[in-house]
C-alpha cells in the first residue's frame, strides 16, 4: 500500500501544477484534473469524476475550488481535501500578489497579451479534446435519455444562455424520475414473471 504521506504530497503538487495553468475559466481545470487523476494516476474513475463535477457545479463558489475539495476528499479524506485546496489556491494567490504590485504594466504588456491570445486556442483545444472523449462515451452508453439531456442542455446553455443552476435542477429531476421509473418497471417485470 502506498505511503499516505506520499499521496498527500502528490495531491498537493499535482493540484498546484494544474491550478497554475488554469487559464480561461474553471472548466479547464476539470479537463486537466480528468487527464491527471483519471487517465494518468488512475486514482478515480471517469464516472466518479463526472459525479464529483456535478456536485462541484451544484455548490456555490468557484467550480475549481469545489472540485478540488471533492477530489481530495475522495482520494484521501479530509487531509487530502486540505492538500488539494491549498494546491488550488496557492498558485493564483502567489501570482496575483506579485502582479498586483505592477498590474497596470502587466495588463498593457504586449508580450503578455500576445502569449495569452495564443493560449486561447490551446485552451479551447484542451477542452475540446476532453469533451470529445466524454461525449463519445455518452453516445456509447446507447441511452437515448442521456443523449437528449446532453444535446438539450448544450443548446439551452450555449444558445439561450440559461443559468447553469436551472439546467442542473431539471436534469437532476429527469435522472431521478427515470431511475424511479426503472425501479417500478423492475418490480412490474418481477410480478409478471411470477
Amino acid at each position: 500500500m502506498v505511503n499516505k504521506k506520499y499521496i498527500y504530497i502528490k495531491l498537493f503538487t499535482s493540484t498546484f501544477y494544474l491550478s497554475a495553468f488554469t487559464f480561461g475559466g474553471g472548466y479547464v481545470i476539470i479537463s486537466l484534473m480528468k487527464k491527471k487523476f483519471v487517465d494518468d494516476l488512475q486514482w478515480i474513475e471517469e464516472d466518479e469524476m463526472l459525479n464529483l463535477t456535478a456536485i462541484a457545479q451544484s455548490s456555490p463558489g468557484p467550480v475549481a475550488v469545489n472540485a478540488a475539495i471533492l477530489l481530495g476528499y475522495h482520494v484521501a479524506g479530509p487531509l487530502g481535501a486540505l492538500a488539494t485546496i491549498l494546491g488550488t489556491i496557492l498558485p493564483p494567490f502567489i501570482i496575483l500578489s506579485v502582479i498586483s504590485v505592477f498590474y497596470a504594466a502587466f495588463r498593457d504588456n504586449i508580450v503578455v497579451n500576445a502569449v495569452l491570445k495564443g493560449m486561447q486556442a490551446g485552451v479551447a483545444a484542451v477542452i475540446a479534446d476532453v469533451v470529445l472523449k466524454l461525449g463519445s462515451n455518452v453516445f456509447k452508453e446507447k441511452d437515448i435519455v442521456s443523449v437528449i439531456i446532453m444535446i438539450g442542455s448544450f443548446i439551452l446553455s450555449f444558445l439561450f444562455g440559461i443559468n447553469v443552476m436551472y439546467i442542473i435542477l431539471v436534469c437532476g429531476c429527469i435522472g431521478a424520475v427515470k431511475a424511479l421509473f426503472q425501479v417500478k418497471k423492475g418490480q412490474k417485470d418481477g410480478e409478471h414473471s411470477q
Binding site: I55, P62, K117, A125, V131, M150
Partner: protein, 187 residues
C-alpha cells in the same frame, strides 16, 4: 476591522456565486465598488481583465487582488479564506451526503441525469473560449475577415497533437501560447 469587512464581503461573494466565474462578477462589483468603495470602477475593470489573464478562478483572484491593495498580505489571506469558506462548508456537506447515500437509487438516478449535462456544460464553456480565440471580443460573425486564422490553425494543430500523440495538455497550452505569441508579435 477592515480585515473583518474584507472577510465578510468575500464570504458573501463566495456564498452566492453559483454557476461559474462570470456569475460572480456582478456580486464582486457590488461589494467592492458600490458598497465599500475599495476600488473605483476603472480599477474594477482592470481587476477583471487581470483576473481573466491570470490562472485561477476569478473570485479567488479578485480576493487576492483587493485584499492586498486594502490590507497587504493579511488582507489577501483573509479575503481568500472568506471566499473559499462557503464552498468548503457546503461542498463538505454535499460530499458527506454523496458518499454516505450514493448507493441509493434516487441519488444514482439524479447523478445519471446530471452527468451528460455536465459534459455539455463543459462543451459550452469550451465553445465560448474557441469563439473568443477565433472571433475575438466582437463575437461570432459571418464576415470572413473577422476570423483569426492563427487561432484556427493553432487550435487544429493543438487538437491533433492532443488526440493523436496524447501530449500533455499543459505543454500544449504553453506551446500554443508561445508559438501564437511569437506569431502575433512578429506580424
Amino acid at each position: 476591522m477592515t480585515l473583518l469587512k474584507l472577510f465578510w464581503s468575500f464570504f458573501q461573494i463566495g456564498m452566492f456565486s453559483f454557476g461559474g466565474g462570470m456569475a460572480a462578477i456582478p456580486l464582486i462589483q457590488n461589494q467592492i465598488v458600490n458598497l465599500h468603495h475599495w476600488l473605483t470602477l476603472t480599477e474594477f475593470t482592470d481587476l477583471i481583465t487581470i483576473a481573466e489573464m491570470t490562472p485561477g478562478p476569478i473570485a479567488i483572484n479578485s480576493a487576492t487582488f483587493v485584499g492586498i491593495r486594502i490590507a497587504g498580505i493579511p488582507g489577501a489571506v483573509v479575503a481568500t479564506i472568506g471566499c473559499v469558506l462557503p464552498s468548503c462548508i457546503i461542498v463538505s456537506i454535499l460530499a458527506w451526503i454523496y458518499f454516505k447515500f450514493k448507493e441509493l437509487t434516487a441519488i444514482q438516478g439524479i447523478l445519471s441525469g446530471l452527468r451528460p449535462a455536465i459534459v455539455s456544460l463543459i462543451a459550452s464553456a469550451g465553445l465560448s473560449v474557441f469563439m473568443l480565440a477565433v472571433w475575438g471580443e466582437g463575437g461570432f460573425s459571418t464576415n470572413p475577415q473577422s476570423i483569426n486564422l492563427v487561432s484556427v490553425l493553432l487550435f487544429a494543430v493543438a487538437l491533433f497533437v492532443l488526440r493523436k500523440w496524447k501530449l500533455n495538455p499543459i505543454y500544449v497550452m504553453l506551446g500554443s501560447g508561445i508559438i501564437g505569441g511569437a506569431i502575433y508579435l512578429m506580424v
